[in-house]
């Protein structure tokens, strides 16, 4: 009887401990997000009030209104969707085929090519910034949609190839051989056997690349002036009242606008992200 009681207490304590840990971690992650939202609906004159108002005295949507009316928010959302959308489609198609090639065909040249692609992940963007800036101008791609899309694609290719190649390597060759015996040609084997099996990994890289592209600050900042995406727009907000203060209410509103699709995306596709990460063997 005593043992049973001990076990029940132990179980209860474990559950409390688990929930406590969960609550602390959730708080640490969610509080900044909540704070960004609270700041976005707080009038500028109350933003740095002490003691802190966790719920603003005079909540307002003025910052959002300002962004919509004056900062061309919808244009920036449109640019972001266009660039990120095309980047994801093109990079996924290219990388899925490349990953298949890298996993199935083994020659010295292919191994070196794969190593080169993956090694580019190690080069900091700032190192290539200046020569790439000159190059983009020289070929007339500076401040153009195609130019930005190419740069976005090049930024996500190494990671995507790495994940998809690892995943494709796990798919048994015998499945392809069976399809071949049944009369499937190379294209049919690729599109009807391999790619459907790669769906979880493809979903994962799409989601991760979506978030990466949305957060990409350096590329649009350096390689465009006119074409503005959300990640850059957040630092280009007007110094509304005086030249020596950051318009934190607008920055918070813009931050929330950038965060919202990411939160929705992750919430909706959480299962696929986890499946893909585990199946691809990527340590997140």
């Amino acid at each position: 009887m005593q043992d049973t009681n001990k076990y029940t207490v132990y179980k209860a304590l474990t559950a409390v401990g688990r929930w406590l840990l969960f609550a602390i971690v959730s708080f640490l992650i969610l509080f900044p997000v909540l704070w960004i939202f609270v700041s976005s609906i707080t009038p500028p004159g109350e933003l740095f009030k002490m003691p802190i108002d966790y719920i603003p005295d005079h909540p307002t949507l003025e910052s959002y209104k300002f962004l919509i009316e004056n900062v061309g928010l919808f244009d920036k959302i449109g640019n972001t969707v266009l660039i990120v959308g095309i980047t994801i489609v093109v990079s996924t198609v290219l990388c899925a085929m490349a990953a298949y090639g890298f996993s199935r065909f083994r020659t010295k040249g292919i191994s070196i090519a794969f190593a080169f692609i993956v090694a580019t992940m190690l080069i900091p963007e700032v190192v290539t910034a200046r020569p790439l800036y000159e190059f983009m101008r020289a070929v007339g791609l500076y401040d153009t949609y195609p130019g930005l899309i190419i740069l976005y694609i090049s930024a996500v290719v190494p990671f995507t190839v790495l994940v998809l190649k690892n995943f494709a390597s796990e798919i048994p060759v015998s499945l392809e051989e069976a399809a071949a015996i049944d009369g499937a040609n190379f294209i049919q084997r690729l599109f009807k056997v391999i790619l459907p099996l790669m769906k979880p990994a493809i979903a994962t890289v799409c989601i991760i690349n979506f978030i990466t592209c949305l957060n990409n600050f350096f590329t649009p900042l350096y390689y465009s002036n006119d074409i503005q995406v959300l990640s850059v727009a957040i630092v280009q907000l007007p110094l509304r009242d005086n030249m020596y203060g950051v318009p934190w209410d607008l920055v918070s509103a813009m931050g929330w606008i950038i965060l919202l699709p990411i939160i929705i995306f992750v919430a909706v596709f959480e299962k696929q992200i986890m499946d893909g990460i585990m199946a691809g063997g990527v340590k997140a």
Binding site: G45, L47, M50, I187, L221, V235, R240, N242, V246
Partner: protein, 409 residues
């Protein structure tokens, strides 16, 4: 399936070519309209007030002006503009820069001198003389057109100070020593490492010191005064991490009785409904040893690689003109850069009268900048923090400042 893949690629290529056509379209329009084109990268490009100013300028000058926003963050802005200028990129003709940026850029071969075309000798007299010589000028050439001026003014919160007049150093010291309530101070500042520099140079001005002479008795006295503020608890030590946003909020909330802050903050206090007689107002500069205060301006510079020089000069001449100064000031509700305009006009901007008094009665001094201002501002701020926190002595502080300034020269 082959058709599907082919379709995706053709669709992509069509989309790419469609996007590329956008620029061609603009080009055709340009040719049709016969208007000279000009591109300005401006820190206020997204502001509706600035857009109104540009629309007026377009009509006035018969130009087609495109504005591009630039980052508000100082470091990111500096990096972005430097990259464009250094690369000889002609996509932007005119940039808006602040004192820190012009102090660096004028030593590089990025900008077109404007002495012969815009900033003629006659016009130079309209701006603060010492400012023009030390900030936009190098080797007798002027490299920028100031369009907005901010004066470091003395602000008081009447809810804290009451009706007392703070006219002299003694009045100021008396305010510091008075018990105004729990966690309420007679004076507050922003001593974050990037902001302490403003406060330091302001007090060096007030004590009649010389920012480049750290053996100067008055400079040393200013340092001791600031040090005592912190060590005697006359200002909160926590202000070493405060920037202007935090300082302004504390001032608005009645935690500080007075602050030194740029005149542009008038808009912030007005938006918060606090700029009124019984709460926050600009007071005359307290008389210390010298009646001098810092100023800061924003300026236009012309890209050396600009392909629209004629149109750019036309715009810069307008920006430097009396009409241009008035139009900008009234659209943006800020002080213009020309002293004669401030002295002779009645501008419809908040607090104009009191700012006019500053211009008429106070010596306006530029902040001292090196050719690598961002780095030195930060270094100075760190040294200052160490000094007021008693981590280094005054002699050590002065020695390090001198050493830093010697390396700059």
């Amino acid at each position: 399936m082959k058709k599907y893949v082919l379709g995706v690629f053709i669709g992509f290529l069509l989309l790419m070519s469609g996007c590329g056509d956008q620029q061609d379209g603009v080009h055709t329009e340009d040719t049709d309209s016969q208007k000279e084109k000009l591109t300005i990268m401006h820190v206020d490009a997204e502001s509706p007030r600035f857009r109104k100013f540009i629309e007026n300028a377009e009509k006035e000058l018969d130009l087609e002006i495109e504005t591009i926003a630039c980052p508000a963050d100082a470091d990111v802005r500096q990096a972005k503009i430097s990259t464009i200028l250094e690369a000889g990129d002609s996509s932007v003709d005119i940039f808006s820069v602040n004192d820190e940026m012009i102090s660096e850029f004028k030593y590089k071969d990025y900008l077109k001198p404007l002495s012969d075309t815009v900033m003629t000798e006659e016009l130079l007299f309209s701006y603060p003389e010492s400012y023009m010589q030390n900030i936009p000028m190098k080797d007798g050439e002027v490299y920028s057109v100031p369009y907005l001026m901010d004066i470091m003014v003395f602000w008081v919160n009447r809810e804290v100070t009451g009706d007392r007049e703070i006219r002299t150093q003694e009045d100021f010291v008396a305010l510091l020593k008075e018990n105004l309530g729990n966690d309420v101070y007679g004076y507050g500042g922003a001593w974050d490492q990037s902001y302490a520099y403003n406060e330091l140079s302001e007090f060096v001005n007030l004590f009649g010191g010389d920012y480049y002479d750290w053996e100067n008795k008055n400079t040393r006295e200013a340092l001791s005064f600031l040090h005592d503020l912190a060590t005697k608890g006359e200002v909160p030590v926590s202000q070493v991490v405060d920037r202007y946003e935090q300082m302004e909020q504390k001032f608005l909330d009645g935690k500080y009785g007075s602050i030194f802050m740029y005149s542009g903050a008038i808009n912030t206090f007005e938006c918060a409904g606090a700029y009124r007689m019984e709460k926050i107002q600009v007071a005359p500069l307290p008389g210390f040893r010298k009646n001098a205060t810092n100023i800061a301006t924003w300026q236009y510079v012309l890209n050396k690689a600009s392909e629209h020089e004629k149109a750019a000069i036309k715009f810069l001449k307008y920006a430097a003109s009396r009409e241009g100064n008035i139009a900008y000031a009234e659209c943006m509700k800020c002080l213009p850069a020309r002293l004669d305009v401030i002295r002779e006009e009645k501008l419809d901007i908040p607090g104009f009268q009191v700012l006019q008094d500053y211009v008429n009665h106070v010596e306006l001094k530029e902040r001292p900048f090196s050719s690598d201002p961002m780095k030195d501002i930060s270094k100075t701020g760190i040294l200052f923090q160490q000094y007021v926190m008693n981590q280094i002595s005054q002699d050590e502080f002065c020695e390090k400042m001198e050493e830093m300034q010697k390396n700059q020269r």
